[in-house]
């Protein structure tokens, strides 16, 4: 928070602000002191906000034409594609927007992992982020069911059946989720309702995410605590706004490429076949952004343990601030962590790849090794690394390495001798 008290210039502004301090909030957001060394990996917060709003706006429009009924949903989606003015555009933006949303959120999460943004005092920001990520997966999954194609139907069947792995009450929970004895019309209508609801829950959590962020302020590539405002900060507006805006434009080019040139490349052809409860498609694969977790599910030969492993892979992230015992945030000063970080990135990409392949032979073996390594990284490597690793000396400020040469203790020592 900026320290100075803000007073609006106009008389009306002052009158209004005394009654509802919206202008104080706006002033806080524009003047907000931001580390001056934020790189482009930090622009994905803004990009994600854009993605959320895009999904809400296009989703609202689609809901005006879509019919949530097992007999009509498939046709109503084709109606949107063929009859509704610009329906094809709006639907392609919404469908590819989901993929873009996940692309951005994965970059955002891996930026956090690299620069240690989840560490004290930012644990709550991180946990809210994980909840948002979980809700995103729920929303994406339910949204994928709505067109009522073959992949919709069988994806819904497989994912809801995950709950049947729970001992004793599992079957009851699945029947309750379905509202019947299989995925059918009651399932579709409730998924539509929840798919409509979740983005607004996410919106609320985004507000909390940003609120929690504005208490300690942004982490930065150097990962040290900085004084705010100081030589190390710049006001959010115009500096960060312009940088975020430029990154957003670049992102929109990628987005537009998918929407206009390969709108179906991230989907499955099977979803243009209407749902048939008697025939399962030969090769069921979830959307690309869920593949790593799908690979983990399939790599365990036991039903209950497979589900447990998959859910643990997600929930383990919430415990990350306590699993990573190192006090140093940024991987820039952690030579060993930096290497393990890139191994983890490769590991997750490999999981994603084998998740898309049939679960047999070599693929299965690779999936098992990669799953084991994923848990090894979080449960063994990170906790041990915090104690064993020899980290590099941290600079005293963001400005120091720029003005005072290399960031090392000798320089800092010399500086204190001058005093």
């Amino acid at each position: 928070m900026s320290d100075h008290e803000y007073t609006p210039k106009s008389k009306f502004g002052k009158w209004f602000n005394d009654r509802l301090p919206l202008l104080t909030l706006a002033n806080h957001l524009t003047d907000y002191p931001t580390p001056k060394n934020l790189n482009y990996w930090w622009t994905f917060g803004g990009i994600l906000t854009f993605c959320l709003i895009t999904q809400i706006v296009t989703g609202l429009v689609l809901a005006m034409h879509y019919i949530a009924h097992a007999d009509m949903a498939f046709d109503s989606v084709e109606h949107i594609m063929r009859d509704v003015n610009y329906g094809w555009l709006i639907r392609y933006i919404h469908a590819n927007g989901a993929s873009m949303f996940f692309l951005a959120v994965y970059i955002h999460i891996f930026r956090s992992l690299f620069y240690g943004s989840y560490k004290a005092p930012r644990e709550i920001i991180w946990i809210i982020g994980i909840i948002i990520y979980l809700l995103m997966m729920a929303a994406a999954f339910m949204g994928y069911v709505l067109p009522w194609g073959q992949m919709s139907f069988w994806g819904a069947t497989v994912i809801t059946n995950l709950f049947s792995a729970i001992p004793l009450v599992g079957e009851g929970i699945v029947t309750w989720l379905w509202g019947g004895y299989s995925v059918d019309n009651p399932t579709l209508t409730r998924f539509f309702t929840l798919h409509y609801l979740i983005p607004f829950l996410i919106l609320g959590l985004v507000v909390l995410h940003i609120w929690a962020l504005h208490v300690p302020g942004n982490n930065n590539p150097v990962g040290i605590d900085i004084k705010k405002p100081s030589k190390d900060t710049v006001p959010f507006h115009p500096y960060i706004v312009i940088k975020d805006g430029f990154a957003l434009l670049m992102f929109m080019i990628v987005f537009a490429f998918f929407v206009f040139y390969t709108p179906n490349i991230l989907g499955h052809a099977d979803n243009y076949i209407e749902a048939d409860p008697l025939v399962t498609p030969a090769h069921i694969v979830p959307e690309w952004y869920l593949l790593p977790f799908y690979a983990i599910l399939r790599s365990v030969p036991d039903k209950l343990l497979g589900v447990v492993a998959m859910l643990s892979a997600i929930f383990i992230l919430a415990a990350l601030p306590w699993l990573d015992t190192s006090k140093i945030r940024s991987a820039v000063f952690r030579p060993l962590y930096r290497q393990f970080y890139w191994i983890l990135v490769a590991d997750v990409l490999i999981l994603g790849y084998v998740g898309a392949m049939p679960a047999e032979g070599l693929y299965l073996l690779v999936a098992r090794i990669a799953t084991a390594y994923y848990f090894l990284h979080f449960l063994v490597i990170l906790p041990v690394l915090g104690f064993k690793e020899r980290t590099l000396p941290l600079p005293l400020s963001i400005t120091e390495p720029v003005l005072g040469g290399s960031p090392n203790l000798a320089a800092a020592k010399k500086k204190s001798e001058f005093k």
């Binding site: 069947t157 497989v158 004895y181 995925v183 009651p186 030969p301 047999e360």
Partner: protein
């Protein structure tokens, strides 16, 4: 405050919480239960199937409660194969005699017990069914032999109304 004494006010608090909890529960339960199968879904509980056209070695698939049911008329070889399997070799030990009342007819839910896909007929390592989703292999009695599925494919309640008609449910 010296000694903790139960006062009238403590009693009133406890009573209020208790009544409040019951009230909240009474409001929440209908909200949860409305998601369970409704009367119209439950009404579709049984279905009758004409099996007169099914020849030995053929499987038909019918829809019951939104789920596929496999009705297979097994050949003598298949029956012999199913009955020869030792129970020790099974992940979910069940005798074929208990699964097929009339050995010629195997009536079972065509739903993989792993995550609910529909297994493919006459595929897999055991000459029975194979689930394409996550690779579960079932034998000619619908018993799980290999893969992630925990149990055999389920046998629904069914009966022969006459020699040509099976009533499922």
């Amino acid at each position: 405050m010296s000694e903790k004494k139960i006062e009238r006010r403590d009693f009133l608090f406890t009573a209020t919480y208790a009544v409040g909890a019951v009230g909240v529960g009474a409001v929440i339960w209908p909200m949860i239960d409305q998601m369970n199968p409704d009367a119209s879904v439950k009404a579709l509980a049984s279905t009758e199937v004409d099996v007169s056209t099914v020849t030995p070695g053929k499987t038909i698939t019918v829809l019951w409660r939104g789920k596929p049911v496999f009705i297979r008329r097994r050949t003598q070889d298949e029956i012999a194969e199913a009955r020869l399997v030792k129970l020790e070799d099974l992940k979910h030990p069940e005798k074929d005699e208990d699964r097929a009342k009339d050995p010629e007819w195997l009536v079972m839910l065509g739903v993989c017990t792993h995550l609910g896909c529909v297994p493919l007929d006459q595929k897999g390592d055991y000459n029975g069914w194979f689930c394409p989703c996550h690779g579960s292999h079932y034998d000619i009695s619908g018993r799980i032999r290999k893969g992630p599925a925990p149990t055999n494919m389920e046998i629904p309640k069914y009966e022969f109304v006459n020699s040509n008609t099976i009533k499922i449910g």
